[in-house]
Symmetry: C2
Subunit: 407 residues, 2 copies
C-alpha cells in the first residue's frame, strides 16, 4: 500500500492514489502554474520539479497541462510515478514541504487550453426521457441511437472553470401554441451533469483512432456541467442541433484525474441489445465503462445521484466514433459523455428530467420548489470512483451560480 | 485613384485596393510569416515593417494573423494605410522590392489560429433544396428558419488551407430501406461553397455583440469549402445535427480579404418576408449584404456560379445571433455563411442540389458525369467582389483533391 508522509485523511478524495492535475495561482504569486491536489494541499509541481532537478521540469513548470498532455502515455505514467515518489519518499520531504499551498489559498483555473469540444448523448435513460419530452409524438430514441454514440460539437471558447458565475442567457423561444417567437431571458435554465474526457495525444488527419487506443490518447477525466437553456434549445434545434441553448457556458471541474488513478473503476458497460459495427464493438474486451458515482446539489441540497456506470456508450467508443471519418485529434480536445441519468427518478442528471419539464417540481428543504434554475441558485456536482484498498478517488466539484441576464 | 509603382495588371484580383493577408513560407526561408498579396507577388509584411521602422512591426512580424486581428478596427485601418503607402510611395520602393516573393514561390498556410468554428445555413434556396431532399414529407424550411440564422458548431481542428488533400471519410450509412447501417467509405462525397468571416476582436462572456458592431469585430473574409459526406450526414443528423458528415475537413482559402477592401461590395440583402426580432432587424440600416460572385470548378470545368448577394441572412445578423445568449467571441473565431445557392440550378453551391441527390448528374467536358465526387477529383472555388473604379477584389481560391479512404 502506497502511503504518504503528509497528513492526509484516509477518506480524503485527494489521497496519494489520486493525484489529479490542475492549474492554480495564489495571492502572493499570480503566475498560473501546475498543481497536484494532495489531501488539503496543492503541490506546486513545477517548483518541486525544479528543486529536485526532475527530467520533466519542462512539462511541469508550465502555465497549463497541454505540454504534459501532449507528451503521451509513457511520459504520463513516468511523471505520475515521480510525483508519487516525492510524496512518499522522505528524501523529497524538504523540497515538497517548501512548495505546498493550502488548498483554500489556491485559486483554480481552467487547467488546459481547449481544442475542440464535443458533447455526446450516451445515457439511454436521458436520451429516452428527452425524446419523450421534446418529441412526444415519436419514438423516444431515434433509429440511429443504438448504432452510434450521437454527439455534436459545442463551443470551446465558453468552457469555464468551476466557480465562474453563469449569466442567464437571453434568446428566442416559441412554445408550439405561440404564433411567433419572443425574445427574452431564458425561462427554463437547466443543468446537465456529465463526465468529461481530456485528449492528450493528438492524431493525424485522415486516420481514424481505434477504440483500443483510447488509453494512448486520453489523458484524464473531469466533471462537466453543460448548462442548457431548454426553451431556446427547443425552438432552435431542428434541423442542425443545439446551438445557443448550450453555447453560453459549459463549466468544468478544476482537477483532471489521470486515467492511471482510475485503474479500480473500470466496469462492464450495460449489455448491448443491438449488435455494434466492428469499430464500436467492445464485447469481450477489457471493460471500458467507469463506475463513477455522481451527486448533484442545488443550494447545498442533494437532488440527484446519477450513476455513470449505466451509460450505454463508453468514452472509448466515443473516441473511435469521433475519429472514424478521419477527423484528427489535438492536444486539449475535450469531449463530454452527455447527461448522466440512471433508470430511477432520483438518478437523473438534469432538471428537465427530474421535474419532467416542470410538471413535478423538486422540493427544497427551505420549502421552496424548483422546476428550473432561478437567479442566485448554485449547482454543485461532485463525484467519486473506487480506488485501491477501499479508498475513493475524488473528482472535486464543478459549481456555478446563476446571475441575472445582462442588457 | 490609388496606384502602385509595381507592375500589377489592371484586372489582377490582387490589386492595390485589395491587399489580402496570408501566411507564407519559401524554400529558402521556412519560417511562417505574414504576407500581403499584390499582383503576382507576396509582400513579406514583417520584413518591410522592420526595414521601415514601422510602429506595427510587432503585429506584422508574426507567425500568423492573430496578433494583428486582436488589435481591433482602428489598428486594422492604420496598418492597411501603411501597407498601401509602402506600395504607392516611391520612397519605400527599395525596402519593398527587397521583400517581394513571386506568388508561385510562396507556400501558403492557414493564416490564423482558429478558435471556434460555426457553420450557418443562410441561403433560402439551399435550405429549401436540402429540406426537400432530406425531409421529402415535411415543409422544406423548418418553422424557425425565417426567424433566426440557423447554425451549429463545426470542428476547428480539421480546418485546413486550400491545397490540402481531402481523404475520403468512412462512416456509417443507412438508406431508409436498409435493415441496418453499413460501414464503409462515403459514397456521396460533396462540397459546400461558402463564404467565411474571421473574428478579430473578442468580446466578454455574458454580453451580446450588437448587429451594428459587426465591423468592430470581424476582421476579414475568405472562401470556404465545407466538404460534406451526405450519406453519413443523413443517417446521423437527427436529433443533434451534422457531426461526422462534416468534421473530417473544411478547406479555407489562404487569403483573408479585409473588410476595408469590400467597401464597394455592400448590397441590400433580400427583402425579409417575416419581421425579424429587434436584435436581427436590419431594415433601414447600412446594407450588410455582400455582392460576391463565386465560381465552382470541378477538374477545371465551371459547374456553378453561386451569387452571395442572394443570402437571406447577413454575416452581421449571424454575429448578433451567435452572441445573443452571451456567448463570447475570441480572436480567431471563424464562421461560415452556409452553402451559397441562388435561385437557378446553375447557381447551386453543392452537388446534392446541382444533381438533385444524383438524379440528374453533372456532365463534364470529357464525357463523364458526376453525381458526387470521385477519388482524384479536384474542386476549386474562386470569387470576386466589386472594387473601386471598375476593379474586382479577388478572394483567390480554395481548392482540394479527393484521395482514397485510409484503413
Amino acid at each position: 500500500m502506497t502511503t504518504t508522509w503528509l497528513p492526509v485523511a484516509a477518506d480524503s478524495p485527494f489521497g496519494i492514489r489520486n493525484l489529479p492535475y490542475g492549474v492554480f495561482t495564489t495571492t502572493e504569486d499570480p503566475t498560473p502554474r501546475i498543481g497536484v491536489a494532495i489531501g488539503d494541499f496543492v503541490l506546486d509541481a513545477g517548483a518541486v520539479a525544479q528543486a529536485t532537478g526532475s527530467d520533466h521540469t519542462g512539462l511541469l513548470d508550465a502555465a497549463n497541462l497541454n505540454p504534459l498532455m501532449a507528451a503521451g502515455r509513457a511520459v504520463w505514467t513516468t511523471v505520475r510515478a515521480e510525483i508519487t515518489a516525492w510524496l512518499t519518499d522522505e528524501a523529497y520531504r524538504r523540497d515538497v514541504e517548501a512548495n505546498l499551498v493550502p488548498r483554500q489559498d489556491a485559486a483554480l483555473h481552467l487547467p488546459f487550453e481547449v481544442g475542440d469540444y464535443v458533447d455526446f448523448y450516451a445515457s439511454e435513460h436521458h436520451a429516452s426521457n428527452l425524446g419523450q419530452i421534446f418529441r412526444p409524438d415519436s419514438e423516444p430514441l431515434t433509429p440511429n441511437w443504438k448504432h452510434m454514440p450521437i454527439g455534436y460539437h459545442g463551443r470551446s471558447g465558453t468552457i469555464v472553470v468551476s466557480g465562474t458565475e453563469i449569466v442567464r442567457p437571453s434568446g428566442q423561444r416559441k412554445a408550439p401554441a405561440d404564433a411567433a417567437p419572443a425574445y427574452g431571458p431564458c425561462l427554463r435554465l437547466d443543468i446537465e451533469a456529465e463526465v468529461g474526457f481530456v485528449v492528450g495525444k493528438g492524431s493525424e488527419l485522415g486516420s481514424p483512432v481505434a477504440r483500443a487506443d483510447f488509453r494512448e490518447h486520453v489523458f484524464g477525466v473531469c466533471l462537466v456541467n453543460d448548462w442548457s437553456a431548454r426553451d431556446i434549445q427547443a425552438w432552435e434545434y431542428v434541423p442542425l442541433g443545439p446551438f445557443l441553448g448550450k453555447s453560453f457556458a459549459t463549466s468544468v471541474s478544476p482537477w483532471v484525474v489521470p486515467l492511471d488513478a482510475l485503474a479500480h473503476a473500470w466496469v462492464e458497460p450495460p449489455a448491448r441489445d443491438v449488435e455494434p459495427l466492428p469499430y464500436l464493438d467492445d464485447r469481450g474486451s477489457t471493460p471500458d465503462g467507469l463506475d463513477i458515482a455522481i451527486e448533484v446539489a442545488l443550494n447545498g441540497h442533494v437532488v440527484s445521484r446519477p450513476p455513470f456506470r449505466t451509460m450505454y456508450w463508453t468514452a472509448a467508443q466515443q473516441l473511435a466514433h469521433m475519429t472514424v471519418n478521419g477527423a484528427s485529434l489535438r492536444t486539449g480536445d475535450f469531449y463530454a459523455s452527455g447527461t448522466v441519468s440512471g433508470p430511477e427518478r432520483e438518478e437523473r442528471g438534469a432538471f428537465i428530467e427530474l421535474t419532467w419539464n416542470g410538471r413535478d417540481p423538486v422540493k427544497l428543504p427551505d420549502g421552496s420548489t424548483r422546476s428550473y434554475l432561478e437567479d442566485g441558485d448554485e449547482v454543485a456536482i461532485t463525484a467519486t470512483a473506487p480506488g485501491p484498498d477501499g479508498t475513493r478517488i475524488g473528482f472535486g466539484e464543478v459549481a456555478g451560480r446563476i446571475t441575472p441576464t445582462r442588457g
